[in-house]
Amino acid sequence: MQLEQNSRTEELLFYVLAAAGGLVTVVGLAAALFMEHSGHVVTGMNNQVVWGMPHVFAIFLIVAASGVLNVASIGSVFGKVMYKARAPLSGLLALVMLAAGLMVIMLDLGRADRLVVAMTHFNPSSVFGWNVILYPGFFAIVGLYLWTLMDRKMNPYYKPAGLAAFIWRLLLTTGTGSIFGFLVARQAYQSAVIAPMFIIMSFAWGLAVFMIVQKSMFAWNGMTVHPAIRQRMKNLLGTFVAAVFYFVLVYHLTNIYFAKQTAFEQFILLSGGIFPTLFWGGYVFLGTIVPLLLLYVPDLNKIRGSVFLAALLVIVGAFSLLYVFIIGGQVYPLDIFPGMQVSSSFFDGKIDSYSPSLPEILLGLGGFGLAFTATAVGVRVLKFMPQDDIAKLENCGHMLD
Protein backbone atom coordinates (compact mmCIF):
# COMPACT_ATOMS: atom_id res chain seq x y z
CA MET A 1 0.00 0.00 0.00
CA GLN A 2 2.76 2.37 1.06
CA LEU A 3 4.77 1.34 -2.01
CA GLU A 4 1.84 2.11 -4.27
CA GLN A 5 1.41 5.49 -2.61
CA ASN A 6 5.10 6.29 -3.13
CA SER A 7 4.91 5.26 -6.73
CA ARG A 8 1.91 7.53 -7.33
CA THR A 9 3.67 10.46 -5.66
CA GLU A 10 6.72 9.80 -7.78
CA GLU A 11 4.60 9.69 -10.92
CA LEU A 12 2.89 12.95 -10.02
CA LEU A 13 6.22 14.59 -9.32
CA PHE A 14 7.49 13.43 -12.68
CA TYR A 15 4.53 14.99 -14.49
CA VAL A 16 4.97 18.24 -12.56
CA LEU A 17 8.65 18.40 -13.48
CA ALA A 18 8.03 17.51 -17.14
CA ALA A 19 5.28 20.13 -17.30
CA ALA A 20 7.57 22.74 -15.72
CA GLY A 21 10.24 21.97 -18.33
CA GLY A 22 7.59 22.16 -21.04
CA LEU A 23 6.42 25.51 -19.73
CA VAL A 24 9.95 26.94 -19.81
CA THR A 25 10.22 25.72 -23.41
CA VAL A 26 6.89 27.29 -24.37
CA VAL A 27 7.90 30.59 -22.78
CA GLY A 28 11.14 30.43 -24.79
CA LEU A 29 9.19 29.82 -27.98
CA ALA A 30 6.87 32.73 -27.16
CA ALA A 31 9.91 34.97 -26.61
CA ALA A 32 11.23 33.93 -30.02
CA LEU A 33 7.89 34.72 -31.61
CA PHE A 34 7.94 38.14 -29.98
CA MET A 35 11.46 38.80 -31.31
CA GLU A 36 10.44 37.55 -34.74
CA HIS A 37 7.39 39.80 -34.78
CA SER A 38 9.00 42.96 -33.40
CA GLY A 39 12.43 42.51 -34.91
CA HIS A 40 15.73 42.40 -33.05
CA VAL A 41 15.07 45.95 -31.91
CA VAL A 42 13.67 44.35 -28.74
CA THR A 43 16.98 42.64 -28.03
CA GLY A 44 20.20 44.09 -26.66
CA MET A 45 21.99 43.13 -29.85
CA ASN A 46 23.05 45.76 -32.37
CA ASN A 47 25.26 46.25 -35.40
CA GLN A 48 28.44 45.88 -33.31
CA VAL A 49 27.37 43.13 -30.92
CA VAL A 50 25.58 41.05 -33.53
CA TRP A 51 25.49 37.84 -31.51
CA GLY A 52 24.15 37.97 -27.98
CA MET A 53 22.74 35.90 -25.17
CA PRO A 54 20.95 33.34 -27.40
CA HIS A 55 24.34 32.50 -28.90
CA VAL A 56 25.91 32.03 -25.46
CA PHE A 57 23.19 29.52 -24.59
CA ALA A 58 23.18 27.85 -28.00
CA ILE A 59 26.95 27.45 -28.19
CA PHE A 60 27.06 26.03 -24.67
CA LEU A 61 24.37 23.50 -25.57
CA ILE A 62 25.98 22.54 -28.89
CA VAL A 63 29.50 22.23 -27.46
CA ALA A 64 28.29 20.30 -24.39
CA ALA A 65 26.13 18.09 -26.65
CA SER A 66 29.16 16.78 -28.49
CA GLY A 67 31.11 16.52 -25.24
CA VAL A 68 28.49 14.53 -23.40
CA LEU A 69 28.82 11.86 -26.06
CA ASN A 70 32.38 11.29 -24.90
CA VAL A 71 31.11 9.17 -22.04
CA ALA A 72 29.76 6.73 -24.65
CA SER A 73 32.94 6.97 -26.72
CA ILE A 74 35.13 6.03 -23.74
CA GLY A 75 32.99 2.89 -23.46
CA SER A 76 32.68 1.93 -27.11
CA VAL A 77 35.89 3.25 -28.66
CA PHE A 78 38.26 2.88 -25.73
CA GLY A 79 36.61 -0.26 -24.30
CA LYS A 80 35.95 0.90 -20.74
CA VAL A 81 33.12 -1.31 -19.42
CA MET A 82 32.06 1.17 -16.76
CA TYR A 83 31.44 3.85 -19.38
CA LYS A 84 29.68 1.46 -21.75
CA ALA A 85 26.87 1.14 -19.22
CA ARG A 86 26.47 4.89 -19.55
CA ALA A 87 26.53 5.04 -23.34
CA PRO A 88 22.75 5.11 -23.96
CA LEU A 89 22.23 8.01 -21.53
CA SER A 90 25.22 9.79 -23.03
CA GLY A 91 23.75 9.39 -26.54
CA LEU A 92 20.33 10.62 -25.45
CA LEU A 93 21.78 13.71 -23.78
CA ALA A 94 23.88 14.45 -26.87
CA LEU A 95 20.79 14.36 -29.10
CA VAL A 96 18.55 16.46 -26.89
CA MET A 97 21.19 19.08 -26.15
CA LEU A 98 22.09 19.48 -29.80
CA ALA A 99 18.40 19.80 -30.67
CA ALA A 100 17.98 22.41 -27.93
CA GLY A 101 21.05 24.38 -29.03
CA LEU A 102 19.91 24.37 -32.64
CA MET A 103 16.43 25.46 -31.60
CA VAL A 104 17.87 28.50 -29.84
CA ILE A 105 20.22 29.49 -32.65
CA MET A 106 17.61 28.95 -35.36
CA LEU A 107 14.94 30.94 -33.55
CA ASP A 108 17.33 33.83 -33.13
CA LEU A 109 17.79 34.16 -36.90
CA GLY A 110 16.53 37.39 -38.41
CA ARG A 111 14.46 35.24 -40.74
CA ALA A 112 13.77 32.09 -38.76
CA ASP A 113 11.01 31.33 -41.26
CA ARG A 114 13.68 30.68 -43.88
CA LEU A 115 14.93 27.46 -42.33
CA VAL A 116 14.21 25.65 -45.59
CA VAL A 117 16.39 28.18 -47.42
CA ALA A 118 19.21 27.39 -45.01
CA MET A 119 18.85 23.70 -45.79
CA THR A 120 18.49 24.03 -49.55
CA HIS A 121 21.13 26.68 -50.29
CA PHE A 122 24.61 25.57 -49.44
CA ASN A 123 27.82 27.56 -49.58
CA PRO A 124 30.73 25.12 -49.26
CA SER A 125 33.17 27.83 -48.14
CA SER A 126 31.08 28.77 -45.11
CA VAL A 127 31.81 27.19 -41.73
CA PHE A 128 28.11 27.64 -40.97
CA GLY A 129 27.47 25.79 -44.22
CA TRP A 130 29.60 22.87 -43.02
CA ASN A 131 27.58 22.85 -39.83
CA VAL A 132 24.39 22.46 -41.84
CA ILE A 133 25.83 19.05 -42.80
CA LEU A 134 27.51 18.28 -39.48
CA TYR A 135 24.40 18.74 -37.30
CA PRO A 136 21.95 16.45 -39.14
CA GLY A 137 24.83 14.00 -39.61
CA PHE A 138 25.33 13.98 -35.85
CA PHE A 139 21.65 13.22 -35.27
CA ALA A 140 21.76 10.37 -37.79
CA ILE A 141 24.99 8.80 -36.55
CA VAL A 142 24.18 9.12 -32.83
CA GLY A 143 20.65 7.82 -33.53
CA LEU A 144 22.14 4.81 -35.26
CA TYR A 145 24.64 4.36 -32.45
CA LEU A 146 21.85 4.40 -29.88
CA TRP A 147 20.03 1.78 -31.93
CA THR A 148 23.09 -0.49 -31.88
CA LEU A 149 23.34 -0.01 -28.12
CA MET A 150 19.71 -0.57 -27.25
CA ASP A 151 18.56 -3.22 -29.72
CA ARG A 152 20.09 -6.63 -29.11
CA LYS A 153 19.93 -7.53 -32.81
CA MET A 154 22.00 -4.47 -33.68
CA ASN A 155 24.42 -4.93 -30.79
CA PRO A 156 27.28 -6.46 -32.83
CA TYR A 157 27.60 -3.15 -34.70
CA TYR A 158 27.97 -0.86 -31.70
CA LYS A 159 31.76 -0.54 -31.99
CA PRO A 160 31.93 0.80 -35.56
CA ALA A 161 28.88 2.99 -34.84
CA GLY A 162 30.58 4.31 -31.71
CA LEU A 163 33.78 5.03 -33.61
CA ALA A 164 31.85 6.88 -36.32
CA ALA A 165 30.02 8.91 -33.68
CA PHE A 166 33.32 9.75 -31.97
CA ILE A 167 34.94 10.96 -35.19
CA TRP A 168 31.82 12.90 -36.15
CA ARG A 169 31.62 14.62 -32.79
CA LEU A 170 35.23 15.76 -33.12
CA LEU A 171 34.42 17.17 -36.56
CA LEU A 172 31.32 18.85 -35.20
CA THR A 173 33.13 20.67 -32.40
CA THR A 174 35.91 21.61 -34.80
CA GLY A 175 33.17 23.17 -36.92
CA THR A 176 31.73 25.06 -33.94
CA GLY A 177 35.14 26.37 -32.89
CA SER A 178 36.02 27.31 -36.45
CA ILE A 179 32.96 29.58 -36.65
CA PHE A 180 35.12 31.90 -34.55
CA GLY A 181 38.59 30.60 -35.37
CA PHE A 182 38.38 31.55 -39.03
CA LEU A 183 37.12 35.10 -38.51
CA VAL A 184 39.81 37.58 -39.49
CA ALA A 185 37.90 40.75 -38.67
CA ARG A 186 37.83 40.76 -34.90
CA GLN A 187 40.74 40.69 -32.49
CA ALA A 188 39.17 38.13 -30.18
CA TYR A 189 38.95 35.41 -32.78
CA GLN A 190 41.09 34.34 -35.80
CA SER A 191 43.17 31.82 -33.89
CA ALA A 192 44.00 28.23 -34.82
CA VAL A 193 43.85 27.28 -31.16
CA ILE A 194 40.11 27.96 -30.93
CA ALA A 195 38.92 24.71 -32.58
CA PRO A 196 40.97 22.41 -30.29
CA MET A 197 40.04 24.65 -27.35
CA PHE A 198 36.37 24.08 -28.15
CA ILE A 199 36.96 20.32 -28.29
CA ILE A 200 38.52 20.23 -24.84
CA MET A 201 35.82 22.57 -23.52
CA SER A 202 33.25 20.12 -24.84
CA PHE A 203 34.96 17.28 -22.94
CA ALA A 204 34.70 19.16 -19.65
CA TRP A 205 31.27 20.71 -20.07
CA GLY A 206 29.70 17.56 -21.50
CA LEU A 207 31.05 15.42 -18.68
CA ALA A 208 29.84 17.95 -16.10
CA VAL A 209 26.33 17.83 -17.59
CA PHE A 210 26.44 14.05 -17.66
CA MET A 211 27.48 13.82 -14.01
CA ILE A 212 24.69 16.18 -12.94
CA VAL A 213 22.08 14.18 -14.84
CA GLN A 214 23.47 10.87 -13.60
CA LYS A 215 23.49 11.99 -9.99
CA SER A 216 19.90 13.31 -10.32
CA MET A 217 18.69 10.07 -11.92
CA PHE A 218 20.32 7.94 -9.24
CA ALA A 219 18.91 10.16 -6.48
CA TRP A 220 15.44 9.96 -8.06
CA ASN A 221 15.61 6.19 -7.83
CA GLY A 222 16.96 6.28 -4.29
CA MET A 223 20.38 5.05 -5.39
CA THR A 224 23.91 6.40 -5.19
CA VAL A 225 26.69 6.17 -7.73
CA HIS A 226 29.24 3.56 -6.67
CA PRO A 227 32.20 5.30 -4.99
CA ALA A 228 34.69 3.76 -7.40
CA ILE A 229 32.71 5.05 -10.39
CA ARG A 230 32.33 8.44 -8.77
CA GLN A 231 36.08 8.49 -8.17
CA ARG A 232 36.88 7.67 -11.80
CA MET A 233 34.50 10.23 -13.21
CA LYS A 234 35.54 13.02 -10.88
CA ASN A 235 39.19 12.48 -11.77
CA LEU A 236 38.33 12.66 -15.44
CA LEU A 237 36.35 15.85 -14.91
CA GLY A 238 39.27 17.38 -13.03
CA THR A 239 41.65 16.49 -15.86
CA PHE A 240 39.35 18.07 -18.43
CA VAL A 241 38.84 21.24 -16.36
CA ALA A 242 42.62 21.64 -16.03
CA ALA A 243 43.05 21.01 -19.77
CA VAL A 244 40.50 23.71 -20.62
CA PHE A 245 42.39 26.13 -18.42
CA TYR A 246 45.60 25.28 -20.26
CA PHE A 247 43.99 26.00 -23.64
CA VAL A 248 42.44 29.25 -22.40
CA LEU A 249 45.87 30.28 -21.16
CA VAL A 250 47.51 29.48 -24.51
CA TYR A 251 44.74 31.35 -26.35
CA HIS A 252 45.33 34.53 -24.34
CA LEU A 253 49.12 34.23 -24.49
CA THR A 254 48.91 33.81 -28.27
CA ASN A 255 46.87 37.00 -28.45
CA ILE A 256 49.31 38.91 -26.27
CA TYR A 257 52.64 37.76 -27.62
CA PHE A 258 52.11 36.55 -31.15
CA ALA A 259 49.13 38.47 -32.47
CA LYS A 260 49.99 41.63 -30.51
CA GLN A 261 46.42 42.16 -29.43
CA THR A 262 47.61 43.65 -26.17
CA ALA A 263 45.01 46.43 -26.01
CA PHE A 264 42.21 43.90 -26.49
CA GLU A 265 43.69 41.54 -23.91
CA GLN A 266 44.09 44.37 -21.43
CA PHE A 267 40.42 45.17 -21.94
CA ILE A 268 39.14 41.63 -21.62
CA LEU A 269 41.40 40.62 -18.71
CA LEU A 270 41.85 43.84 -16.74
CA SER A 271 39.94 46.98 -17.56
CA GLY A 272 36.76 45.84 -19.29
CA GLY A 273 34.35 45.94 -16.34
CA ILE A 274 32.02 42.95 -16.44
CA PHE A 275 34.34 40.93 -18.68
CA PRO A 276 37.40 40.67 -16.38
CA THR A 277 35.00 40.12 -13.48
CA LEU A 278 33.37 37.21 -15.27
CA PHE A 279 36.67 35.87 -16.52
CA TRP A 280 38.52 35.87 -13.21
CA GLY A 281 35.59 35.50 -10.84
CA GLY A 282 33.24 33.35 -12.92
CA TYR A 283 35.54 31.26 -15.06
CA VAL A 284 38.91 31.10 -13.27
CA PHE A 285 37.77 31.09 -9.63
CA LEU A 286 34.28 29.56 -9.59
CA GLY A 287 34.59 27.51 -12.78
CA THR A 288 38.16 26.22 -12.45
CA ILE A 289 39.88 26.68 -9.08
CA VAL A 290 36.95 25.79 -6.81
CA PRO A 291 35.96 22.67 -8.85
CA LEU A 292 39.58 21.48 -8.89
CA LEU A 293 39.79 21.92 -5.12
CA LEU A 294 36.48 20.12 -4.63
CA LEU A 295 37.57 17.29 -6.88
CA TYR A 296 41.13 16.81 -5.66
CA VAL A 297 41.49 17.98 -2.04
CA PRO A 298 40.70 14.81 -0.05
CA ASP A 299 38.96 16.59 2.84
CA LEU A 300 36.70 18.53 0.50
CA ASN A 301 36.17 15.57 -1.73
CA LYS A 302 34.71 13.56 1.11
CA ILE A 303 31.90 16.09 1.63
CA ARG A 304 28.59 14.80 0.32
CA GLY A 305 27.61 16.51 -2.91
CA SER A 306 31.08 17.95 -3.55
CA VAL A 307 31.40 16.32 -6.98
CA PHE A 308 27.90 17.44 -7.92
CA LEU A 309 28.73 20.99 -6.84
CA ALA A 310 32.00 20.87 -8.78
CA ALA A 311 30.12 19.82 -11.93
CA LEU A 312 27.61 22.65 -11.44
CA LEU A 313 30.42 25.15 -11.00
CA VAL A 314 32.10 23.92 -14.18
CA ILE A 315 28.89 24.92 -15.99
CA VAL A 316 28.87 28.33 -14.26
CA GLY A 317 32.46 28.73 -15.46
CA ALA A 318 31.45 27.65 -18.97
CA PHE A 319 28.79 30.35 -19.20
CA SER A 320 31.17 32.97 -17.82
CA LEU A 321 33.86 32.01 -20.31
CA LEU A 322 31.45 31.95 -23.26
CA TYR A 323 30.01 35.33 -22.31
CA VAL A 324 33.50 36.84 -22.17
CA PHE A 325 34.51 35.13 -25.41
CA ILE A 326 31.40 35.88 -27.46
CA ILE A 327 30.15 39.20 -26.09
CA GLY A 328 33.49 40.60 -24.91
CA GLY A 329 35.00 39.73 -28.29
CA GLN A 330 32.40 41.86 -30.02
CA VAL A 331 32.09 44.91 -27.77
CA TYR A 332 35.73 45.71 -28.36
CA PRO A 333 35.94 47.92 -31.47
CA LEU A 334 37.32 46.67 -34.77
CA ASP A 335 40.81 47.85 -35.55
CA ILE A 336 40.04 49.25 -38.99
CA PHE A 337 42.84 51.84 -38.89
CA PRO A 338 45.59 50.36 -36.70
CA GLY A 339 47.42 52.97 -34.66
CA MET A 340 44.88 55.75 -35.31
CA GLN A 341 42.26 57.33 -33.07
CA VAL A 342 38.90 56.94 -34.77
CA SER A 343 35.38 58.21 -34.22
CA SER A 344 32.17 58.07 -36.23
CA SER A 345 28.39 58.06 -36.06
CA PHE A 346 28.60 54.23 -36.20
CA PHE A 347 30.58 54.08 -32.92
CA ASP A 348 33.91 53.23 -34.54
CA GLY A 349 36.71 53.16 -31.98
CA LYS A 350 34.26 53.02 -29.08
CA ILE A 351 33.86 50.14 -26.67
CA ASP A 352 30.26 49.05 -27.00
CA SER A 353 28.00 47.89 -24.24
CA TYR A 354 25.53 45.05 -24.29
CA SER A 355 22.64 44.30 -21.95
CA PRO A 356 20.75 41.14 -22.79
CA SER A 357 17.00 41.71 -22.95
CA LEU A 358 14.47 39.43 -21.29
CA PRO A 359 13.28 37.73 -24.53
CA GLU A 360 16.86 36.75 -25.36
CA ILE A 361 17.37 35.17 -21.94
CA LEU A 362 13.98 33.43 -22.09
CA LEU A 363 14.80 32.01 -25.51
CA GLY A 364 18.08 30.61 -24.16
CA LEU A 365 16.36 29.16 -21.12
CA GLY A 366 13.75 27.69 -23.47
CA GLY A 367 16.56 25.61 -24.95
CA PHE A 368 17.38 24.29 -21.51
CA GLY A 369 13.69 23.61 -20.94
CA LEU A 370 13.55 21.54 -24.10
CA ALA A 371 16.69 19.58 -23.21
CA PHE A 372 15.36 18.93 -19.71
CA THR A 373 11.89 17.83 -20.81
CA ALA A 374 13.15 15.61 -23.60
CA THR A 375 15.66 13.97 -21.24
CA ALA A 376 13.05 13.47 -18.52
CA VAL A 377 10.59 11.88 -20.94
CA GLY A 378 13.34 9.84 -22.61
CA VAL A 379 14.62 8.30 -19.39
CA ARG A 380 11.04 7.65 -18.29
CA VAL A 381 9.97 5.67 -21.32
CA LEU A 382 13.19 3.90 -22.29
CA LYS A 383 16.00 2.20 -20.43
CA PHE A 384 18.64 4.90 -20.14
CA MET A 385 19.50 4.37 -16.47
CA PRO A 386 23.14 3.21 -16.19
CA GLN A 387 23.17 -0.39 -14.97
CA ASP A 388 26.40 -1.10 -13.15
CA ASP A 389 27.39 -4.68 -12.51
CA ILE A 390 29.92 -3.82 -9.80
CA ALA A 391 31.00 -7.40 -9.17
CA LYS A 392 31.67 -7.92 -12.86
CA LEU A 393 33.58 -4.65 -13.09
CA GLU A 394 35.75 -5.56 -10.14
CA ASN A 395 36.34 -9.05 -11.50
CA CYS A 396 37.54 -7.90 -14.86
CA GLY A 397 39.70 -5.24 -13.28
CA HIS A 398 38.10 -2.33 -15.05
CA MET A 399 37.56 -0.47 -11.83
CA LEU A 400 41.25 -0.26 -11.26
CA ASP A 401 42.78 0.64 -14.60
Binding site: G39, H40, N46, N47, G110, F122, I336, F337, F347, D352
Partner: protein, 247 residues
Protein backbone atom coordinates in the same frame (compact mmCIF):
# COMPACT_ATOMS: atom_id res chain seq x y z
CA UNK B 1 -5.81 -14.54 -84.58
CA UNK B 2 -6.96 -11.89 -82.12
CA UNK B 3 -3.68 -10.03 -82.07
CA UNK B 4 -4.40 -7.47 -84.84
CA UNK B 5 -7.74 -6.71 -83.24
CA UNK B 6 -6.08 -6.17 -79.85
CA UNK B 7 -3.53 -3.91 -81.44
CA UNK B 8 -6.15 -1.76 -83.06
CA UNK B 9 -8.14 -1.63 -79.84
CA UNK B 10 -5.13 -0.52 -77.89
CA UNK B 11 -4.31 2.02 -80.59
CA UNK B 12 -7.83 3.39 -80.47
CA UNK B 13 -7.83 3.68 -76.71
CA UNK B 14 -4.48 5.42 -76.81
CA UNK B 15 -5.54 7.90 -79.47
CA UNK B 16 -8.84 8.54 -77.77
CA UNK B 17 -7.16 9.16 -74.43
CA UNK B 18 -4.68 11.64 -75.86
CA UNK B 19 -7.40 13.37 -77.85
CA UNK B 20 -9.76 13.61 -74.89
CA UNK B 21 -7.03 14.95 -72.65
CA UNK B 22 -6.10 17.49 -75.31
CA UNK B 23 -9.71 18.58 -75.77
CA UNK B 24 -10.16 18.73 -72.02
CA UNK B 25 -7.17 21.00 -71.57
CA UNK B 26 -8.28 23.18 -74.47
CA UNK B 27 -11.81 23.38 -73.07
CA UNK B 28 -10.75 23.87 -69.49
CA UNK B 29 -10.04 27.54 -69.80
CA UNK B 30 -9.07 29.11 -73.06
CA UNK B 31 -6.38 31.67 -72.50
CA UNK B 32 -5.41 30.25 -69.14
CA UNK B 33 -2.22 28.28 -68.83
CA UNK B 34 -2.00 25.64 -66.15
CA UNK B 35 1.68 26.25 -65.83
CA UNK B 36 2.97 29.63 -66.73
CA UNK B 37 6.54 30.69 -67.00
CA UNK B 38 6.95 33.63 -64.65
CA UNK B 39 7.62 36.83 -66.48
CA UNK B 40 9.82 39.30 -64.69
CA UNK B 41 11.33 42.32 -66.33
CA UNK B 42 12.71 41.93 -69.79
CA UNK B 43 16.01 40.17 -69.30
CA UNK B 44 18.87 42.60 -69.37
CA UNK B 45 22.48 41.88 -70.02
CA UNK B 46 24.04 40.43 -66.87
CA UNK B 47 27.01 41.93 -65.09
CA UNK B 48 30.19 41.51 -67.06
CA UNK B 49 33.33 39.99 -65.59
CA UNK B 50 35.43 42.20 -67.85
CA UNK B 51 34.42 45.11 -65.64
CA UNK B 52 35.44 45.64 -62.03
CA UNK B 53 33.71 48.55 -60.44
CA UNK B 54 35.75 50.49 -57.92
CA UNK B 55 36.05 53.82 -56.18
CA UNK B 56 38.98 56.07 -55.38
CA UNK B 57 38.46 58.38 -52.42
CA UNK B 58 40.75 61.37 -52.02
CA UNK B 59 40.69 62.06 -48.29
CA UNK B 60 42.59 65.31 -48.71
CA UNK B 61 39.48 66.74 -50.35
CA UNK B 62 37.05 65.21 -47.86
CA UNK B 63 35.95 67.84 -45.34
CA UNK B 64 35.42 66.98 -41.71
CA UNK B 65 31.79 67.51 -40.79
CA UNK B 66 30.56 67.18 -44.40
CA UNK B 67 28.17 64.27 -44.79
CA UNK B 68 26.72 64.95 -48.22
CA UNK B 69 27.62 61.42 -49.32
CA UNK B 70 25.81 59.89 -46.34
CA UNK B 71 22.66 61.94 -46.97
CA UNK B 72 22.66 61.09 -50.67
CA UNK B 73 23.04 57.39 -49.89
CA UNK B 74 20.17 57.46 -47.40
CA UNK B 75 17.89 59.24 -49.84
CA UNK B 76 18.78 57.03 -52.79
CA UNK B 77 18.41 53.79 -50.85
CA UNK B 78 15.43 54.69 -48.69
CA UNK B 79 17.28 54.53 -45.38
CA UNK B 80 14.84 56.83 -43.63
CA UNK B 81 13.77 54.92 -40.53
CA UNK B 82 14.43 56.26 -37.06
CA UNK B 83 15.62 53.95 -34.32
CA UNK B 84 15.69 54.48 -30.57
CA UNK B 85 19.15 53.03 -30.19
CA UNK B 86 21.45 54.42 -32.89
CA UNK B 87 23.57 51.29 -32.67
CA UNK B 88 20.65 49.35 -34.14
CA UNK B 89 20.21 51.69 -37.12
CA UNK B 90 21.43 50.94 -40.63
CA UNK B 91 24.43 52.87 -41.95
CA UNK B 92 25.49 51.90 -45.43
CA UNK B 93 28.06 54.67 -45.52
CA UNK B 94 29.46 56.69 -42.62
CA UNK B 95 32.02 59.39 -42.09
CA UNK B 96 35.02 58.39 -39.97
CA UNK B 97 37.26 60.99 -38.34
CA UNK B 98 40.85 59.83 -37.95
CA UNK B 99 43.61 61.28 -35.85
CA UNK B 100 47.19 60.12 -35.73
CA UNK B 101 48.09 60.30 -32.01
CA UNK B 102 51.80 60.54 -32.85
CA UNK B 103 51.65 63.80 -34.79
CA UNK B 104 48.06 64.99 -34.46
CA UNK B 105 47.35 64.79 -38.20
CA UNK B 106 43.66 64.47 -38.89
CA UNK B 107 41.70 62.92 -41.75
CA UNK B 108 38.04 62.57 -42.55
CA UNK B 109 36.78 59.88 -44.89
CA UNK B 110 33.69 57.95 -45.91
CA UNK B 111 33.65 54.25 -45.03
CA UNK B 112 31.37 51.68 -46.61
CA UNK B 113 31.50 48.20 -48.11
CA UNK B 114 34.92 47.96 -49.71
CA UNK B 115 33.65 45.57 -52.41
CA UNK B 116 36.54 43.17 -51.85
CA UNK B 117 37.68 40.80 -54.58
CA UNK B 118 38.00 38.17 -51.81
CA UNK B 119 35.14 39.16 -49.55
CA UNK B 120 35.05 37.43 -46.13
CA UNK B 121 31.28 38.04 -45.96
CA UNK B 122 30.79 35.92 -49.08
CA UNK B 123 33.06 33.19 -47.72
CA UNK B 124 31.13 32.81 -44.48
CA UNK B 125 27.53 33.21 -45.69
CA UNK B 126 25.87 29.80 -45.21
CA UNK B 127 23.25 30.23 -47.94
CA UNK B 128 25.18 32.20 -50.53
CA UNK B 129 23.00 35.27 -49.96
CA UNK B 130 26.17 37.33 -49.65
CA UNK B 131 27.54 37.27 -53.15
CA UNK B 132 29.85 39.04 -55.51
CA UNK B 133 28.57 39.97 -58.93
CA UNK B 134 30.74 39.31 -61.95
CA UNK B 135 31.58 43.02 -62.05
CA UNK B 136 32.90 42.97 -58.48
CA UNK B 137 29.92 44.50 -56.68
CA UNK B 138 29.29 42.70 -53.39
CA UNK B 139 25.58 42.35 -52.62
CA UNK B 140 23.17 40.57 -50.29
CA UNK B 141 20.35 38.60 -51.91
CA UNK B 142 17.40 39.70 -49.81
CA UNK B 143 15.47 36.58 -50.71
CA UNK B 144 17.87 34.02 -49.29
CA UNK B 145 19.44 35.97 -46.40
CA UNK B 146 18.38 34.14 -43.22
CA UNK B 147 19.63 36.89 -40.91
CA UNK B 148 22.35 34.88 -39.16
CA UNK B 149 24.70 37.92 -39.10
CA UNK B 150 27.78 35.78 -39.65
CA UNK B 151 28.81 38.17 -42.44
CA UNK B 152 28.73 41.02 -39.93
CA UNK B 153 31.09 39.08 -37.70
CA UNK B 154 33.38 38.51 -40.66
CA UNK B 155 33.49 42.00 -42.22
CA UNK B 156 36.66 43.83 -41.12
CA UNK B 157 35.14 47.22 -42.04
CA UNK B 158 31.91 47.08 -40.01
CA UNK B 159 30.26 47.82 -43.32
CA UNK B 160 27.12 45.80 -42.79
CA UNK B 161 23.91 46.57 -40.95
CA UNK B 162 21.13 44.32 -39.76
CA UNK B 163 17.56 45.52 -40.13
CA UNK B 164 16.36 45.47 -36.52
CA UNK B 165 12.80 46.71 -37.02
CA UNK B 166 9.98 46.62 -39.58
CA UNK B 167 10.44 49.08 -42.43
CA UNK B 168 8.10 51.32 -44.38
CA UNK B 169 8.55 53.84 -47.20
CA UNK B 170 11.01 51.79 -49.16
CA UNK B 171 12.47 52.64 -52.51
CA UNK B 172 11.00 49.97 -54.84
CA UNK B 173 14.35 49.66 -56.61
CA UNK B 174 16.16 48.94 -53.35
CA UNK B 175 14.27 46.26 -51.47
CA UNK B 176 15.15 46.12 -47.78
CA UNK B 177 13.55 44.06 -45.07
CA UNK B 178 13.31 43.17 -41.42
CA UNK B 179 15.69 40.49 -40.28
CA UNK B 180 18.09 40.71 -43.20
CA UNK B 181 21.61 42.07 -43.48
CA UNK B 182 22.41 44.84 -45.93
CA UNK B 183 25.25 47.09 -46.99
CA UNK B 184 26.42 49.52 -49.67
CA UNK B 185 25.59 48.20 -53.13
CA UNK B 186 27.57 50.86 -55.01
CA UNK B 187 23.99 51.95 -55.91
CA UNK B 188 23.82 49.00 -58.27
CA UNK B 189 20.42 50.20 -59.53
CA UNK B 190 22.12 53.37 -60.78
CA UNK B 191 25.32 51.72 -62.01
CA UNK B 192 23.28 49.35 -64.18
CA UNK B 193 21.74 52.41 -65.83
CA UNK B 194 25.15 53.91 -66.50
CA UNK B 195 25.00 56.35 -63.56
CA UNK B 196 27.45 56.90 -60.69
CA UNK B 197 26.64 55.86 -57.13
CA UNK B 198 24.66 58.55 -55.30
CA UNK B 199 27.50 59.31 -52.87
CA UNK B 200 30.03 59.95 -55.63
CA UNK B 201 27.59 62.20 -57.43
CA UNK B 202 26.73 64.15 -54.28
CA UNK B 203 30.27 64.80 -53.05
CA UNK B 204 30.70 68.60 -53.34
CA UNK B 205 34.49 68.28 -53.58
CA UNK B 206 34.51 65.54 -56.19
CA UNK B 207 36.53 63.42 -53.78
CA UNK B 208 34.93 60.14 -54.85
CA UNK B 209 35.90 58.83 -58.27
CA UNK B 210 33.86 55.86 -59.44
CA UNK B 211 34.74 53.73 -62.42
CA UNK B 212 35.98 50.51 -63.98
CA UNK B 213 39.27 49.41 -62.46
CA UNK B 214 39.81 47.05 -65.39
CA UNK B 215 39.50 49.72 -68.08
CA UNK B 216 42.93 51.31 -68.56
CA UNK B 217 41.29 54.36 -70.12
CA UNK B 218 38.99 55.04 -67.16
CA UNK B 219 39.83 57.98 -64.91
CA UNK B 220 40.04 55.75 -61.85
CA UNK B 221 42.44 53.28 -63.48
CA UNK B 222 44.66 56.07 -64.80
CA UNK B 223 44.80 57.81 -61.45
CA UNK B 224 45.55 54.58 -59.63
CA UNK B 225 48.38 53.95 -62.08
CA UNK B 226 49.74 57.48 -61.55
CA UNK B 227 49.08 58.29 -57.91
CA UNK B 228 49.69 56.55 -54.61
CA UNK B 229 46.67 54.93 -53.00
CA UNK B 230 45.91 52.67 -50.05
CA UNK B 231 43.62 49.76 -49.33
CA UNK B 232 42.23 49.79 -45.80
CA UNK B 233 43.46 46.73 -43.88
CA UNK B 234 45.62 45.79 -46.86
CA UNK B 235 47.26 43.23 -44.55
CA UNK B 236 44.17 41.04 -44.92
CA UNK B 237 44.80 40.75 -48.70
CA UNK B 238 41.15 41.22 -49.57
CA UNK B 239 41.91 43.28 -52.70
CA UNK B 240 39.36 45.99 -52.04
CA UNK B 241 37.46 47.78 -54.78
CA UNK B 242 37.50 51.00 -52.75
CA UNK B 243 40.86 52.72 -52.50
CA UNK B 244 41.90 55.77 -50.48
CA UNK B 245 44.38 58.56 -50.99
CA UNK B 246 45.93 60.77 -48.33
CA UNK B 247 45.87 58.38 -45.39
Amino acid sequence: MNEPQDKSRRGFIGTAAVGTAGLGIAALAPGLHLIQVSQADTPTQGASSTVRWGMLIDTTKCASGCDACVKACNTENGIVETVKDARQGAQWIRKIELKDPKNGREHSLPMMCQHCANPPCVDVCPTGASMKRADGIVLVDRHICIGCRYCMMACPYKARSFVHQPLTEQNPEVPRGLGCVESCTFCVQRVDKGLKPACAEACPEGAMTFGDLNDPNSEIAQRLAREASTQVRADLKLNTGVRYQGI
